[in-house]
């Protein structure tokens, strides 16, 4: 079953077509790798799906519903969570608070309850804190639990990435978009990251993951399918082995023959 399908989505910035008529689909339970040279429109494509940019043309179907043009918070509520290329955390809040905010879409709260029904509010928060605790336990390990009351600004690069992934997972998404999760990690940490992604998959077999990555070991290790972008267009879709043998893909990465 298809969970996400885009029909000819395009976006133009001035005269530049950053993403051009991309047809793309993800089946339930799949991990898709999104690769391509720098500036080929991968992150823009993520921004289109999550609603940060509105597509100039085309439709995005998520679970059978057209979400093109909806505001980002509505799209998140439908079950899409993401991480950012250059980590975007709530820097002066603690790791715990960051992940608590990730659960926002499951919370019903209003200012009146916050002011006057304190036990009710506290109970809700208490339950959420337990959940965060479990998430950290599963995906981040003991070191992060010890540091969960520190400002995320003071954490290490790898820990920041982990907090961001935990925040995305906290919203219990159907579709998870990871934008270069291994950027700035050393080889060991990258292996840890691959383990974590496999763990996510093990916990919830139904979840779909689209991952933008420059580290081909990650793509090779965890994805079933890859999609290759170049100059805003999709130039290839298929398995990693086929992609690495494809002439057009090679040209995109290494430049065409003269």
């Amino acid at each position: 079953m298809e969970i996400l399908r885009t029909e000819k989505i395009s976006i133009n910035f001035g005269g530049l077509a950053a993403v051009k008529e991309v047809d793309f689909s993800v089946k339930e339970g799949e991990i898709v790798g999104l690769i391509g040279p720098n500036g080929s429109g991968k992150t823009t494509f993520f921004n289109l799906i999550t609603g940060i940019y509105k597509p100039t043309k085309g439709n995005i179907f998520f679970g059978g519903e057209n979400i093109a043009g909806l505001p980002p918070h509505e799209i998140t509520k439908k079950g899409i969570a993401r991480t950012f290329q250059n980590i975007r955390l709530f820097w002066s809040l603690s790791a715990l608070d960051n992940v608590l905010l990730g659960m926002h879409r499951w919370q019903s709260f209003n200012w009146f309850n916050s002011m006057f029904r304190r036990n009710y509010t506290a109970q809700g928060l208490r339950k959420n804190v337990e959940e965060v605790f479990n998430l950290f336990n599963d995906f981040a390990g003991k070191e992060l639990i010890d540091r969960m009351y520190q400002k995320v600004r003071d954490l290490s690069q790898a820990d920041k990435k982990r907090v961001e992934i935990c925040r995305a997972l906290a919203s219990k998404p159907k579709l998870l978009l990871l934008d270069e999760p291994s950027a700035g990690m050393n080889p060991e940490e990258t292996i840890g990251l691959m383990e974590d992604i496999k763990k996510i998959k093990k916990k919830n077999a139904k979840i779909d993951i689209i991952i933008i990555e420059h580290d081909m070991r990650v793509i090779k290790g965890i994805t079933q399918n890859v999609v290759v972008f170049n100059y805003g267009k999709k130039i290839f879709e298929g398995t990693f082995e086929k992609a690495s043998a494809n002439k057009e893909v090679k040209e995109a990465y290494l430049g065409g023959e003269i």
Binding site: T76, L93, D97, N113, T121, G124, R126
Partner: protein, 402 residues
């Protein structure tokens, strides 16, 4: 997570007995209270300056001495209810101490009003990161609504204060709606414009009394009892200001209660998320527009409560009480006290109201002192007296809870 007692055992420190916690709270609170009372009553300016400098030194020493500091924090954390009750008891005695000198009581009331406003501004400036330069306008909307209704229609204070709350909330929503798209410096600029427009409007409109303002605003009454008559408690006659002092005290406590509730809840968390990163907040499913409008309206209501009390207490209002200067003073209070820290804002509001009053002797150089204080604090403590804290959930998740 380990709770406090196990932690103490691990460090090898005996947990303090209950009585010591109580004693610490009593000593610390009494000292702070005594300090402020003394500061207010002292006539000699030289002593005042010495007192300020001494207290600053004491404050710094206390922060360096981690052991004493943590003991105090621990006591207050464990017996917060006792500490609150005790400080309220101390505050209740203020009119008795100042019964000879109603001017000091007046300063205390103004302190309370500034505190309420600073608390409201903190929701916008501290929690949500909206640099609102129009807070005096919210205060003004509250004051003018109640004054106009009370003078023209002879409505009771208790009705007009409700009207003032509703009006200021509407005004807050309106400003919020109009500034929804502007962030950062642009938001600051737009609110500045609103503040100036408000001042010009009340200064020039017919029904607000122009620059002459509104006079003869009646005192509030409860049944037959007027707030203008002297209060008699336990056989002691207190000046009429003590009525307003107690009224302000109740509302101050209530607004602190509300502000703490908001801070500790998901509302506060969402506001912080908006302050930190709007795009990331959107991607967590947070409706930014709703969050900002709520912050704008709820903050405005704090101003809308302080306004009527001020109008009915002074019994005269004019546009000069709601100028841009007041907005700036309020922003100073919040930044100086500590953004997004309620205790800090309380301290900032109290200090910045009392100190300029005490240095009235210097007449026109008074504002200079103001500037010096702000610069000194921001050089030595750039995040304010009490910087914002990391939210703690230990008591929620692992303590006794309810």
């Amino acid at each position: 997570m380990v709770d406090l007692n196990t932690k103490n055992a691990l460090i090898g420190r005996r947990p303090h007995k209950k009585i010591w916690h109580f004693l610490t709270i009593i000593i610390v609170e009494s000292f702070i209270f005594y300090f402020f009372i003394n500061f207010l009553t002292l006539k000699e300016v030289n002593y005042n300056v010495i007192l300020v400098i001494l207290s600053a030194i004491l404050f710094i020493i206390l922060q360096r001495q981690k052991k004493i500091y943590t003991t105090i924090v621990e006591s207050f954390g464990q017996y917060s209810i006792f500490s609150i009750v005790f400080i309220i008891l101390l505050l209740l005695t203020v009119p008795f101490l100042f019964r000879e000198n109603s001017y000091l009581l007046h300063i205390c009331i103004m302190c309370g009003l500034y505190l309420i406003m600073a608390m409201g501004l903190n929701i916008q400036l501290g929690s949500t990161g909206m640099v609102n330069f129009a807070f005096a306008a919210f205060f003004g909307v509250g004051a003018y609504t109640s004054a106009l209704l009370a003078v023209n229609f002879q409505l009771s204070f208790w009705i007009v204060i409700l009207a003032a709350i509703i009006m200021s909330a509407i005004f807050g929503l309106l400003i919020g709606l109009l500034t929804l798209k502007s962030t950062g410096f642009y938001y600051a600029l737009v609110t500045m414009a609103f503040q100036i427009i408000f001042h010009l409007l009340v200064n020039n409109l017919q029904f607000t009394g122009g620059s002459g303002g509104i006079s003869n605003i009646p005192f509030p009454t409860i049944g037959k009892y007027s707030f203008g008559s002297s209060l008699r408690i336990l056989g002691v006659d207190l000046p009429y200001q003590s009525n307003f002092y107690y009224l302000t005290l109740i509302i101050v406590l209530f607004s602190i209660y509300v502000a703490v509730g908001l801070y500790n809840s998901r509302s506060g968390l969402v506001w912080n998320a908006i302050r930190e990163d709007e795009i990331a907040a959107k991607c967590q499913g947070i409706n930014i527009a709703r969050g900002k409008l709520e912050a704008s309206a709820i903050g405005a209501v704090f101003g809308g409560i302080a306004g009527p009390i001020y109008a009915h207490y002074i019994s005269y209002i004019s546009p000069e009480s709601f100028t841009f200067d007041l907005s700036v003073v309020l922003i100073c209070m919040v930044i100086l006290g500590g953004l997004d820290n309620i205790l800090g804002v309380i301290l900032g509001a109290i200090i910045l109201t009392i100190i300029p009053e005490k240095f009235r002797v210097f007449a026109e150089y008074r504002m200079l002192f103001y500037g010096v204080i702000i610069i000194t604090v921001l050089v030595f403590r750039p995040e304010g007296f009490i910087p914002k804290r990391i939210r703690q959930y230990t008591s929620l998740a692992y303590g006794k809870g309810k």
